[in-house]
Amino acid sequence: MKHRWKDKAIRLAFTALASTSILVVVLIFLFLGKEAFGFIFEPGLKELLNTRWIPVSFKRETFGIIPLITGSALVTLWATLIAVPISILSAVYISEFAGDREKEILKPVIELLAGIPSVVLGFFGLIVLAPIVKQAFGLSTGLIALTGAILLAFMAIPTMVSIAEDAIRSTPKSFRNASLALGASRLQTTWKVIVPAALPGIVAAVMLGMGRVIGETMAVMMVTGNAAIITGSPLESVRTLTATIAAEMGEVPFGSTHYQALFCVGIVLLITTFFINFIAQKVLERHRDVT
């Protein structure tokens, strides 16, 4: 009887510890909301829709996050365009065509890329990549959206490759055997049978990679030039949501409108990444149920 009582206490302890994750998520929403709260009354949420972000000014400050959103969107779009084809080709190669030994080397090496701190990648981008981009396009500066996109693509590649590779590897063997038995070549089998079957997993991989790209801060802050302008050209300087927080938070007085505005930017980021990840998880779950 004594044992049973003790077992119950242990179960309770583990339950309590496990609920920390829920607590942290609730606290994140709560405290971001708390710090941003004053912004609703003065100057009002409508201010966020302004097209200009001029947080420090002698005349009138404006806190429009539209240029920051377009900045993040532009960098994310180009990073995705660069990362997706490379990632899918590599994932297919690693899971379908690489030899066993080759696989054992390739996977950890690509994981190594995920382990390089973003500030080191940013540093490399600043010193090595930016001058190359500058020369290649004949620009006056290499600190532009495209440079950020290239770096971010490399940060997204390990995520995309490893999840896509998982999805490809988990397609049933019977699909492959049936296709090969019908006389299809290995390449045809891969692209017409296995990849379509793994597509939901690949889509999830791309989305999780994008989630990582949108949230990336240091690398992007160091190489995109940080000009808060609305532009559709990857060859111009932009300022992203993340970089704005990181660059400006150190210099604002606590509780000021600028401070609250930066927390509003944080909330926008949090909600965006939450939805991207939520949808990706759902896609993955459904995919897992099917296979």
Binding site: R4, I10, R11, F14, T15, L17, A18, S19, S21, I22, V24, V25, L27, I28, F31, L32, E35, P85, I86, L89, S90, V92, Y93, I94, F97, V109, I110, E111, L112, G115, I116, P117, S118, V119, V120, F123, F124, L126, I127, V128, S185, R186, L187, L208, G215, T217, M218, T242, A246, M249, G250, F254, F263, G266, L269, T273, F274, I276, N277, Q281
Partner: protein, 282 residues
């Protein structure tokens, strides 16, 4: 059905894969070649002088080590306990699904948002100020999902029969977890956790708002002290220093020390995993 075009396409895929590998090698080599000459005993054991332009990076190394150790102390027990709950105790239901949703959500929160959260809760609301404690708690929240997900996987990899055998002999649930599950799952749980810790060591954005000091040439004396940290020091040297061009060798050497630290941690995890896979076959 032309096998010739098959071959070409396979080469395209191989090229994409090895292209990525080549870029990784390029980044690593660039930093090693330009960073190695500046690394000597003085560099890692002396205090910085002239806002980082001369001297060493000892306070930044110590600061990062403090943050890593503090983060482990907070995140490891919490993460492992959550994983044990999910793998061993949890029943299907709203609470369990809530935890899983929370873990997935945490995994996707951008690091700078963790920084804002840490600033709002630990630094300001709980009055810790910019300090090691606030930074460790923030980093711990950030790497919690990594530890949970990989630890749970390691627990699931232990065969059911081990648990059942123990329960059938009359052991309680906790006894069988402790004696028949954890010893076999622990190496795997640690491997995943180490990867999370490597991430914490290299992160800059969260500590930017919760701990990091721009220039502080002394060692911390309590967990409520501010410290310098390697990633932030690199950022400051590379972008904020008035003579960024002149201190380039210092930047490269700092980057190399940071990379060695993070990669040693990660490689340790990867080697451990390979070893376990070979030894533990059910």
């Amino acid at each position: 059905m032309s096998r010739g075009s098959d071959k070409i396409f396979i080469w395209v895929m191989r090229l994409a894969t090895y292209g990525v590998v080549a870029v990784i090698a390029w980044i690593l080599l660039d930093i090693i070649v330009k960073g190695a000459p500046g690394i000597n005993w003085e560099f890692i054991s002396a205090y910085p002088k002239k806002s980082g332009a001369e001297g060493g990076i000892l306070p930044a190394i110590v600061g990062t080590l403090c943050l890593v150790i503090g983060t482990i102390v907070v995140a490891l027990p919490l993460g492992m306990a959550t994983a044990i709950y999910l793998a061993e105790f949890a029943r299907q239901g709203k609470f369990t699904r809530g935890i899983r949703l929370a873990v997935a959500t945490l995994a996707g929160v951008p690091s700078i948002v963790f920084g804002l959260f840490g600033l709002g809760l630990f630094v300001l609301f709980l009055g810790m100020g910019a300090s090691i404690a606030a930074g460790c708690l923030t980093l711990a929240c950030m790497i919690l999902p990594t530890i949970i997900v990989s630890s749970e996987e390691a627990l699931h990899a232990v065969p059911r029969s081990l648990r059942e055998g123990s329960l059938a002999m009359g052991a309680t649930k906790w006894q069988s977890i402790r004696t028949n599950v954890l010893p076999y799952a622990l190496p795997g749980m640690l491997t995943g956790s180490i990867l999370g810790i490597g991430r914490a060591a290299g992160e800059t954005a969260p500590i930017l708002l919760t701990v990091a000091a721009f220039f502080l040439p002394r060692l911390p004396s309590s967990i409520l002290d501010q410290v310098m940290a390697l990633p932030y020091h690199l950022y400051v040297l590379a972008t904020q220093h008035p003579e960024a061009e002149k201190v380039r060798p210092m930047q490269y050497s700092t980057a190399l020390v940071l990379m060695i630290l993070v990669i040693t941690v990660n490689m340790g995890a990867i080697l451990l995993r390979v070893k376990i896979r070979k030894r533990l076959k059910w």
